[in-house]
């Protein structure tokens, strides 16, 4: 009952503005797929096109292999969970959940039974006769999920439904959503600007920027092997060093910068394009001596204690701002502000990518 979704060269224009630009992606049946990107990147437009509230200007959308052109939202096998949930405040919980069955002409006894069953699935038994206003944020979330599941959609579309919740509840609902998705086997397409959410829940993530799909891969691949500077910079934190690619050997390249000459992995297909060297803060190591490869002399600036890790900001002697994240082992001593140290990184953990601003 779950179905795959194919976006075949889909574009969408609003007047002169191109919100979605030639997006191609094939989402597998039963997959948890996230579109991740900053606001205004076109991810919500994609969701509205799949659900049928927006027609693509070009290209085709297929759900379960069937072309959806001309199919209105109430004819598509999708269910959308809105960012503000859009529960019906004038109906009790069970009528909300059974609304999709009611409009299909299901009789009242069956509707009620199905609503109770779904309330158990989302772990909210006994709430059937409450009004929406009596529920907490997390409970509303569950009702919205149950309401969407009631119509037995092949594809569930979620538009940042967790963004209004507080941190603890959000983390809890992530696991919950993931669990419901695994139990029901329905294809979930999730829209978010929160990389933590996308990485933690998804089977695959599509990173978007300016209407274009930049990279589609599983979360580890996205984080560890971003294909360009945008993906590298948007997903997680990055240190950036500007320079020129020199000699290349075994996938590694020599990289000349004003801060020194480094060695790092070279992403495929960067020849000629403007590039930067990217290193994650957690791969930056602080040390007293600068003898090893890829080391930069720095002066320690701000130190932010985050609990499980410590963010150390520093300025290279040549002016670049660098950040290192050090795991808090509970006993280690922190460097002093203004201390002269070295930051160095492993050549395998650094990557040379096309510059994000030129992507």
């Amino acid at each position: 009952m779950s179905a795959g979704v194919e976006l075949d060269d889909v574009s969408c224009d609003f007047g002169r503005f191109r919100a979605v630009d030639h997006v191609n992606v094939s989402i597998r049946p039963g997959e948890f797929f996230s579109f991740l990107g900053p606001s205004g990147c076109g991810k919500t437009t994609i969701l509205r096109m799949i659900s049928g509230f927006q027609e693509p200007s070009e290209g085709a959308i297929r759900i379960g292999g069937k072309d959806m052109r001309g199919q209105r939202a109430n004819q598509r096998p999708t269910a959308l969970i809105f960012q503000n949930l859009a529960l019906f405040p004038l109906m009790p919980v069970w009528e909300n959940i059974a609304f999709g069955l009611e409009v299909r002409g299901e009789d009242k006894v069956r509707r009620r039974a199905r609503a109770e069953e779904l309330l158990r699935l989302v772990d909210l038994p006994g709430a059937a006769d409450k009004m929406i206003g009596q529920l907490s944020g997390g409970q509303k979330q569950r009702v919205a999920i149950a309401r969407a599941l009631a119509v037995e959609p092949s594809v569930m579309l979620l538009d940042e439904p967790l963004s209004a919740l507080d941190l603890k509840l959000r983390q809890h609902m992530r696991a919950e959503l993931r669990g419901i998705q695994k139990r029901t086997g329905v294809t979930f397409i999730y829209i978010t600007h929160d990389q933590g959410e996308a990485l933690a829940m998804s089977d695959r993530v599509g990173v978007m920027s300016q209407g274009r799909l930049q990279q589609v891969a599983d979360p580890r691949e996205i984080y560890n092997n971003p294909v360009n500077g945008f993906v590298a910079g948007f997903v997680g934190e990055m240190n950036r060093l500007t320079g020129e690619v020199g000699q290349v050997a075994n996938g590694h390249a020599v990289f000349g910068t004003p801060h020194g000459t480094f060695r790092a992995r070279l992403a495929p297909g960067v020849n000629g394009a403007p590039v930067k060297l990217y290193v994650r803060p957690e791969h930056m190591v602080l040390s007293q001596d600068g003898g090893s490869e890829n080391s930069v002399p720095v002066t320690i600036g701000d130190i932010a204690f985050e609990g499980n890790f410590i963010t150390v900001s520093a300025t290279a002697d040549t002016g670049a701002d660098l950040t290192a994240e050090v795991r808090n082992d509970g006993i280690g001593k922190l460097p002093d502000r203004g201390a002269k140290l070295f930051m160095h990184f492993d050549a395998d953990r650094a990557i040379i990518l096309p510059d994000e601003s030129k992507a």
């Binding site: 659900s51 049928g52 509230f53 209105r72 939202a73 109430n74 999708t78 269910a79 959308l80 809105f82 960012q83 503000n84 859009a86 529960l87 019906f88 004038l90 109906m91 609304f99 999709g100 009611e102 409009v103 299909r104 309401r147 969407a148 009631a150 119509v151």
Partner: protein, 311 residues
Amino acid sequence: MQDLLRRYGATLTGAFVVLTAFWLLALVILPNVTLFESSFRYYLPVVDIGGPKDVYTLANYQKFINNPVETSFLGIPFTMPIHMITFFNTVIFSAIVTVITFVLSYPLAYYLAKMVSPASLPTLILLLFIPLWVSEALRAFAWYIILTFNGPLNSSLVGLGLLDSPIRWQNGVVTAYDAIVIGLVYTYVLFMVFPIYGSIQSLDRNQIEAAEDLGAKWWQTHWRVVLPHAKPGIASGCVMVFMLSAGSLLVPTVLPSTRSNWFTQTIQVLMLESQDWNSGAAYSFLYILLCTVVVTLVMWLFKVKLSDIAK
């Protein structure tokens, strides 16, 4: 009050309070109380006022149930006091006016609130308001001219070949009150459009989309989501249009048929033509009371609370 004193000083605040109190007492409360009191007295020649015949009585109210006449409703003949017949006709046709204005207003209000582009909304609202710049009397006379035997409606219908010969619209084609209903609908339709527009506008568009996404057809979305949300607006629009129609004197006077009679006309005849202010006052208060009863009954029937309307 403290705020007013601080902002405007004692003199100005005092003036505000005195003026407002004067307006309320002398121009609203006192005349109504006087009228209410006089409704319980006989209509007497001046020499008898204050004399032994000037006593309190319910006679003026009892006139409402005097003078039974033969009539029929839906072919069933029965007798009823003549003024009661007028009252029921007024209530029934005011209700019909209310229903017609609702049927006309709801789609328009929905269109204005949810479908029209924000850029063209001010123009459309302006277009709706322009007729209001003309006085109610002129608008009623305009309809008189439109509906008259040699008027534009007949001549265009005959000219288009839709009618063989002109019709006496004002005598009533369906009922004796056709022209009055048309006039009242035209006069009061905006009192229905704007409350409904306001209540639909406050509906989150996602609610409509959510209903559609869950498979609802357009009428199911309206029935289950839009209408219940708009209920307070619909209720206040209905109450306003009903009360305004039932209380209208101008339209039933300008657009009557030979057989129509509006309750306000009965009161007008009592007060201005018979100069019997006592009975006129009694009829006025009775009318307010009965209309309130009707409105309350209908609100109870549709499960609308007063607090809903106040929203």
